[in-house]
């Protein structure tokens, strides 16, 4: 009996992959929802792009067909010595192997009024339901925290004609991750949205509430008061590890795991957002909280559990996001601040929201990574370049083969390469097949 706590992408990927290799009974427990849904799509439910059912990747018969039991209940505690789970309704359940995939929870930093009514994070299905109730018919909102979830929440609220005051701690948007040029592109784009007011280098001091304990405004650390009827707390997330409280499973910020995703207790594994590596992989963070790493950990743990132990060894970093209308992808390592031995080349289009940020080694010209905004790039091609230590010149001269924009889109490669050549005194030529060659040949 394999039991998985949490039916997010990590837990569900683990269950699916275990089923491919084993006939063991599998149960997924979640108190959030019975069926798996895509958390990243919740914003589209609020905006009316999709209904909640649309966010569910599998039909109910999928779980029956694959004999994956779905249990909607809340795990109160884990008794690892008895190999038993206790639920909040008092019932118990035995397991042979346990996978903890409980994900994250929104950060709260002890602000006064942070637990009041009309103050919510944006993470779970329940958060979305609360936001829906709290924002019905209101005029203005404050969002605290300038990261990916904050900007999504801003986009959501603007569709309901709510004025958004967006407080960002740093002097640029998502500047702990994005280099300043990239951050600037997003900041310029944000300026174009009516009803969105940005407050950089501004931190929340307290949430002001009325006699019903409802948020009616915020006060910033600089003493500025902003009136609002809703406060969104999106200052990052941290591992949701309430389930291991009172157990002997070791934890730090997250549940501590080794490279095989094993916790300190036998037959208990932790994957996804809630796991923290005892020894982080070189160049990576101990806690990885993105969709893809969760998916990958789910696959890795499925191998270990089914008898062919495998270490978590993800390949080159990649990620993606969308900031209002600007699509963003990244391959390899582009850090907020350039390292000593790194060189960068940034192309930004004069009028369109298009930016390519290349990073490569100063000496060898080995390609290190790219941030691409407003142009889609092929993952397999960049992954190959990274695996094969391609140089920046190789990447640029073959850039057209990595372009993943829909047909007939304006192509910027020649301009990009010309600018590179000018800046670095290089003579890179652009290789690209003609459109008719693409139709009739490889």
């Amino acid at each position: 009996m394999i039991v998985i706590i949490g039916n997010g992408i990590s837990g569900v990927t683990a269950a699916r992959n275990i089923r491919k290799k084993s006939d063991d009974a599998i149960t997924i427990i979640s108190s959030e929802s019975k069926y798996f849904f895509s958390r990243t799509a919740l914003m589209y439910v609020y905006m009316g792009h999709m209904t909640f059912e649309h966010t569910q990747p599998y039909e109910p018969h999928f779980w029956e067909k694959n004999r994956i039991e779905l249990l909607q209940n809340h795990v109160e505690s884990i008794e690892s010595n008895k190999k038993e789970l206790r639920f909040s309704d008092g019932s118990k359940m035995k397991y042979d192997s346990l996978i903890i995939a409980t994900g994250s929870k929104p950060n709260k930093f002890g602000w006064k009024g942070q637990d009041s009514k009309r103050v919510h994070g944006m993470y779970s299905k329940q958060d979305l339901e609360n936001i829906e109730k709290s924002t019905k018919g209101i005029a203005s909102a404050v969002i605290v925290g300038g990261g990916l979830i904050g900007i999504e929440l801003a986009e959501m609220l603007l569709t309901r004609n709510i004025e958004v005051h967006f407080l960002v701690r740093d002097n640029g948007f998502w500047s702990e991750v994005l280099p300043s040029q990239d951050s600037q592109l997003i900041m310029d784009h944000l300026e174009k949205h009516h009803g969105l007011r940005m407050y950089y280098e501004t931190e929340l001091d307290e949430v002001v509430t009325n006699e019903n304990d409802e948020a009616i405004g915020v006060i910033t650390k600089a003493g500025r008061k902003i009136e609002c009827q809703f406060v969104g707390l999106t200052a990052g997330v941290s591992p949701n590890i309430a389930v291991i409280e009172g157990s002997s499973i070791e934890s730090n910020r997250g549940i501590l795991v080794d490279r095989f995703l094993r916790t300190s207790e036998a037959d208990i594994y932790a994957i996804g957002d809630c796991a923290e590596f005892r020894e982080p992989l070189p160049g990576r963070r101990p806690i990885e909280q993105v969709w893809y790493t969760g998916k990958f950990m789910g696959e890795v743990v499925s191998e270990t559990i089914t008898g062919s132990p495998r270490q978590y060894n993800p390949g080159h970093w990649f990620n993606s996001a969308k900031f209002f209308e600007i699509e963003y992808q990244t391959y390899g390592d582009v850090r907020a601040i350039l390292a000593e031995d790194e060189e960068e080349f940034v192309y930004r289009h004069a009028t369109e929201d298009v930016l390519l940020h290349f990073v490569f080694e100063k000496e060898s010209h080995k390609f290190i990574g790219i941030n691409n905004f407003g142009i889609r790039m092929r993952h397999p091609v960049f992954n190959d370049w990274l695996l094969n230590n391609a140089t920046i010149e190789e990447v640029l001269s073959n850039l057209k083969s990595a372009n993943f924009d829909p047909e007939f889109y304006t192509k910027y490669e020649s301009e990009v390469v010309a600018e590179f050549n000018q800046k670095f005194g290089a003579s890179v030529a652009v290789n690209a097949p003609k459109w008719w060659q693409k139709i009739i040949s490889h």
Binding site: H49, E327, D405
Partner: protein
């Protein structure tokens, strides 16, 4: 006011009793149409002469609407004050008001209240609707940055099967029923279009002129709306300009200009881009006559039709997929992509819908093929074609019966042979087969058996023939089912179905023998054509295909019915360079692609596994790629090798795959 918005339905995904009743009522509605065909064939009557004709038509489509309502009930809301008006701005509201005014004038003519000043009212109604649509478009998208604009789609009463959606669906259905079967009831609306018809063709307007004009009008104005909505996406812009161009020039202008010079051959007659089998009229004898007798232009039309079907279609579909036609050229596709864009998310993405889709579209293909053979046969042989079973005398009957009996016995015997637990049954069946064989052998040695007097089939009681008609329908279903399972290589089921088919056939023969029939059952080619035109051409492609846009989505016909789409789909699936590429492992399973796929393809199911999407039904509209927030999907033509491969990206040096 009840909220338009709720996070519902976690448990509502299973088929409730409500939905099952909905399906039954829908099928009952279909049966009404088939009954109409039956009466018309057996009593040799024109549809319009059948007693209670209008009740059959309205009753059938009414039941289909009711069935659809019950089936989709839990997915829509019925708040009159929809979110649309709540969140729409002033310009949008002004645009809506102007359009409503224009449609009001149109409705007055429809209701027979406008009898004079046609020129004024025509321009007033079309003009106001055009200006209103453009104003609304401007209000909707001008104030926003270019990008995906799907806000409120699921809250809007019109686009989420709310009250407005249902009103639109019923009005459209009514319009289609009238134009196909009760054109005389549209008399005053048709007269409204006279001024325009005189301008183009020099003659008064007919129902199809009105239809063509309204159709082209919708594609033009809602096409502009679509282009403005997707102004950041050049694939969408170019493709929409293409469908607008082909509609205005090839479907509307050229046929009407030719009509002014020539004898009128029907609305579809000279639309050069309308390909058989979508254009089933191509093989009508009057068309073939016209082609034969019209000298060079007739010959050109004939040769062009053949070349289009046999050479151009397969070749282009091989190169770029069926999108070259379905979402770049075709009129049905053109309307779906422009006027139907607001309803694209209503298509069902369930696996069960996919199954139904494959059955229905391939049955329609078989139907059109039979119809075509039936139409061409008399044309080239000079004799009326009849599809039916042999004329039977006593001897022939016994021969056939014995053969069938043996075959079914052997079939059933083989089927159950492997089930060792029932030896008795096997024994009985083998005996059964042996008896059949012996009868056959005995009869074949006695050639002097009496021949029963020939009986004219027309003396048969209508009752008997009706029963035979429905048995025949069952037979067709059973045989096609058999073929389907054969394709799936489920040999046991195949045998069972073949045995049942043979038994049904034997039953039919027995029945007709007892009744003294000379023919078991026969369709005259005319009846087949008539049935196809009524059931598929009008009821399916028209009423359900377009009338049900706001209820079942904008591509119901293209997905479930169109034999042309089915034909190209075979190439697209098995021999084509087209696919939708999935970008490595970037998919976040959000579901925008599946939601906005008008063909009901669960795109996400492929994308989240890193698989390319190769599906017969994909019309290549490119909207999945457009709405993807992470740049995961791209419509591409490329080498055939590896097109189907599940090729999840290898992300690590030690060869770990991520899927």
């Amino acid at each position: 006011m009840k909220s338009n918005y709720s996070i519902v339905g976690e448990e509502s995904q299973k088929l409730s009793v409500f939905k099952k009743i909905g399906i039954l009522i829908f099928i009952l509605g279909l049966t009404g149409l088939i009954e109409l065909i039956r009466i018309s064939i057996i009593d040799k009557m024109k549809f319009e002469d059948i007693e209670h004709y209008e009740w059959y038509i309205f009753g059938s489509f009414g039941l289909q609407l009711l069935g659809t309502f019950l089936f989709t009930y839990d997915r829509h809301h019925f708040s009159i004050k929809s979110a649309y008006l709540k969140y729409s701005n002033k310009i949008q509201k002004i645009g809506l008001a102007i359009s409503t005014l224009g449609f009001g004038v149109f409705s007055l003519a429809w209701a027979g209240l406008i009898t004079s000043n046609h020129t004024l009212f025509l321009w007033l109604s079309m003009g106001l609707m055009g200006i209103g649509t453009m104003t609304y478009t401007y209000g909707s998208y001008a104030g926003h940055l270019k990008g995906i604009k799907n806000n409120y789609v699921m809250f809007n009463s019109l686009t989420s099967r709310g009250i407005l959606g249902w009103i639109a669906g019923i009005v459209l259905t009514l319009f289609y029923i009238q134009i196909y079967w009760f054109p005389e009831s549209l008399e005053s609306l048709i007269r409204l279009f006279d001024p325009l018809a005189y301008l183009f063709t020099g003659a008064a307007a007919g129902q199809w002129f009105v239809y063509g004009t309204v159709y082209t009008f919708l594609i033009f104005f809602l096409g502009i709306k679509f282009i403005y909505k997707y102004r950041h996406n050049r694939y969408q812009i170019i493709r929409t300009i293409s469908v607008i161009f082909f509609q205005i020039v090839f479907a509307y202008a050229i046929p009407h200009i030719l009509e002014a010079f020539n004898d009128y051959q029907g609305y579809f007659a000279k639309d050069l881009k309308n390909i058989w089998p979508l254009n089933y009229g191509f093989v009508e004898s009057y068309q073939l006559d016209a082609m034969q007798n019209n000298g060079v232009s007739g010959t050109f039309y004939f040769v062009w039709g053949l070349v289009l079907f046999l050479i151009i279609t397969p070749f282009l579909t091989y190169l770029v997929g069926k999108r070259w036609y379905c979402s770049w050229v075709c009129g049905c596709g053109g309307l779906a992509e422009t006027a139907g864009d607001s309803f694209r998310h209503l298509s069902s993405k369930k696996e069960s819908s996919w199954k139904i889709e494959r059955w229905v579209i391939h049955l329609v293909m078989v139907f059109v093929l039979v119809m075509t053979v039936g139409a061409l046969w008399p044309y080239f042989s000079g004799k009326e074609f009849e599809l039916g079973f042999m004329t039977i005398d006593q001897k022939g009957f016994f021969y056939t019966f014995a053969t069938l009996l043996s075959l079914s016995g052997i079939g059933l015997g083989i089927l159950f042979f492997k089930r060792k637990h029932n030896m008795l049954l096997i024994g009985a069946l083998l005996l059964f087969a042996l008896l059949g064989f012996l009868t056959w052998a005995y009869l074949s040695f006695d050639p002097k058996i009496k021949v029963k007097d020939q009986v004219n089939m027309y003396t048969l009681k209508a009752m008997t023939k009706s029963s035979v008609f429905y048995s025949y329908m069952v037979l067709i279903l059973v045989v096609s089912g058999g073929l389907f399972f054969f394709w799936r290589r489920k040999k046991k089921v195949l045998l069972l179905i073949a045995a049942i088919a043979v038994l049904v056939l034997a039953g039919l023969l027995t029945w007709s023998f007892i009744e003294g029939a000379e023919e078991v059952f026969s369709f005259k080619s005319k009846s087949i054509k008539k049935s196809y035109g009524f059931l598929i051409g009008a009821a399916f492609a028209g009423v359900i295909g377009v009338g049900f846009y706001p209820l079942l989505g904008n591509r119901v016909w293209c997905r479930f019915g169109c034999p042309m789409a089915g034909y190209m789909g075979l190439f697209q699936r098995f021999k084509s360079r087209f696919r939708i590429t999935t970008n490595g492992a970037q998919c976040i399973s959000c579901g925008n692609c599946s939601t906005y796929c008008e063909q009901g393809i669960d795109v996400r199911a492929y994308a989240q596994k890193g698989e390319n999407i190769v599906r017969a039904s994909c019309v290549g509209c490119g909207v999945c790629s457009a709405v993807c927030p992470r740049g995961v999907l791209k419509l591409e033509n490329g080498p055939e090798e590896g097109r189907f491969d599940s090729n999840p990206l290898i992300v690590t040096k030690d060869g770990v795959k991520l899927n």
